[in-house]
Symmetry: C2
Subunit: 335 residues, 2 copies
């Protein structure tokens, strides 16, 4: 990599001090320097194709103008979409984004946080993984600005941008009931993460019959949904009282479940009604249009960036807890 031109080079060529060059090039308004000199400096800077060294600026200012985005998996369309919006919104605010995938593992997210902190990121947007409370607590102690997205821990006072998972789930399941479904199963992740627990809560709230509830909720592990979802479905469909509807707690679970339905020639909605939390491009091709809970991804991500930017610029102890509205998009699959 060729040596880049610095203020020093310009100063030498212009026959002035580095400081003068800096004043000319870094101040918008002509602060002090004479027209003559500043014109000359700007001309030379252009000639030499000067590009300020952000690293040096960062060292000097203590700000890197970089934010760290930590999600479960950047290749998951849900997070990829968030990433894209974060990218655009961050750029508008003058920030660069460094991302990292935690694979839902606290150890990975911990490493990631340390790594990015070394890189002097100014703040974080995090979709936290299970058992990462202590990491967030530490960030708080070190007064590192951060905003949670998609998930949050109710017992920790932090900024977050999320949805009302319980309400959204309640609405969805209520819809199934309204459509006459009597035994509604749910497939969720086996995690303590609050957003998932809320979805389960909303589901439970909507159920009136208390019976069999334990068997109706199937929880699968993040790392082995390929095996666990089919098993869960089998369980829900077997026995004396097979379910007549399934509520999938995420798009990934939904996709996996629907694939299994296809393999087994289980028809939606004739054999079973379905509602999925979140959407997926894949659903567009499912033979039966799917009812799903739509999250305001774009607003979620934008808000997160804005809250973070504010927090970086004027840190306060007041936290922003933002809930955005979801929408239940009703199609044939739940009837």
């Amino acid at each position: 990599m060729q040596k880049r031109v610095s203020l020093k080079d310009i100063a030498k060529k212009a026959g002035v001090s580095i400081a003068t060059v800096s004043y000319v090039l870094s101040k918008q308004k002509n602060s002090g320097v004479s027209e003559e000199v500043s014109d000359k400096i700007r001309k030379i800077a252009k000639e030499l194709n000067y590009r300020p060294n952000q690293i040096a600026k960062s060292l000097q200012s203590g700000k890197s103008h970089t934010i760290g985005l930590i999600v479960a998996d950047i290749s998951n369309p849900f997070f990829a979409q968030i990433a894209r919006i974060v990218e655009d919104e961050a750029k508008k605010n003058g920030y660069t984004v460094i991302f990292g995938s935690s694979d839902e593992k606290a150890s990975k997210s911990g490493d990631l946080i340390k790594f990015l902190l070394n890189r002097q990121v100014d703040g974080f947007i995090i979709a936290p993984s299970e058992a990462s409370e202590n990491q967030l607590q530490q960030l708080k102690e070190q007064k590192v600005p951060f905003v949670l997205i998609d998930r949050y821990f109710p017992e920790i006072e932090t900024n977050f941008v999320a949805i009302d998972n319980q309400k959204a789930a309640f609405e969805a399941v209520s819809r199934l009931k309204a459509n006459g479904k009597e035994r509604i199963g749910m497939i969720a992740y086996d995690t303590k993460l609050h957003h998932m627990k809320e979805r389960v809560k909303g589901y439970r709230d909507a159920l009136t019959s208390e019976k069999y509830q334990d068997q109706l909720l199937q929880e699968v592990e993040f790392s082995k949904i390929k095996e666990d979802v089919p098993k869960a479905i089998d369980k829900l469909l077997s026995g004396e009282y097979p379910v007549d509807a399934i509520f999938f707690a995420t798009n990934t679970l939904g996709v996996t479940g629907l694939k299994y339905f296809n393999e087994q020639n289980i028809n939606v909605p004739d054999d079973i009604a379905v509602i999925v939390f979140d959407e997926s491009e894949a659903f567009d091709f499912f033979y039966c249009p799917l009812t799903f809970v739509q999250q305001p991804l774009s607003d979620l991500a934008k808000k997160a960036v804005n809250v973070l930017a504010e927090q970086i610029n004027k840190p306060t102890d007041k936290v922003s807890k933002i809930y955005l509205n979801t929408k239940l998009v009703i199609k044939k699959s739940c009837s």
Copy 2:
């Protein structure tokens, strides 16, 4: 953000010079410093939870250990998957990834490159957009290490990791012919990008009848595929000799096309046979299993990182032009 602890703080506490601390903490082997002192320093460093300031290191070393990844759109699963693998492979090599989306616009990619160069990235992995040759040429002149991925410009000598698009397309279309298809249309992007031209070339090579070829190839614009793909399909299916097969040049085009088929109740493969370049989760739900050209995404991304890392560590003028193999995954849609 709380002030972080620096070498200075440790030095003060330990009663030694900053240099000594640096020697202890930055050298793996005990270079010179006595056991006693170095133990003490390490202990204090741990106590204070010292984390080296990468920014300062970067300024000093001229290396940021950061690479810039520029793709068309991070929210496109094709690129999101690449991003994920790049992330993992980069981490293995000690690099952080900053990403940016160009939206297939040269202007955006140009801005992005400048922006990231200011951030002192050590190198780039780029899926270049149309008319961005001059940007790459400039990078070459400035001796900035970079590797192209997915696309490349044959007239510019650069590192790249790609596939043989012509061959892959040829194979795909040949398959359609072998299955008795006689009028095979293609829907491609209207771009000068070489990879797309190669796909078209491969398609043309496979066609034997020379007639009507101009009408058989439909090119649509990146920015308005939603409108253009349906139009293109209408054209291909109307007239005296409607096509009996369509070859989609990318997964995005395929997804859009198949949606339109559904709207119009056009059946695959009865009404029309289909092959798509690239895969998509969505295809799993299409009623008819789709034949597609499978790219070795993971290897592509890994290779790109490795070539780049090598280029950064020992720059040479020799370029690596790497082609990886594709696989035609044959399903019912092309019969």
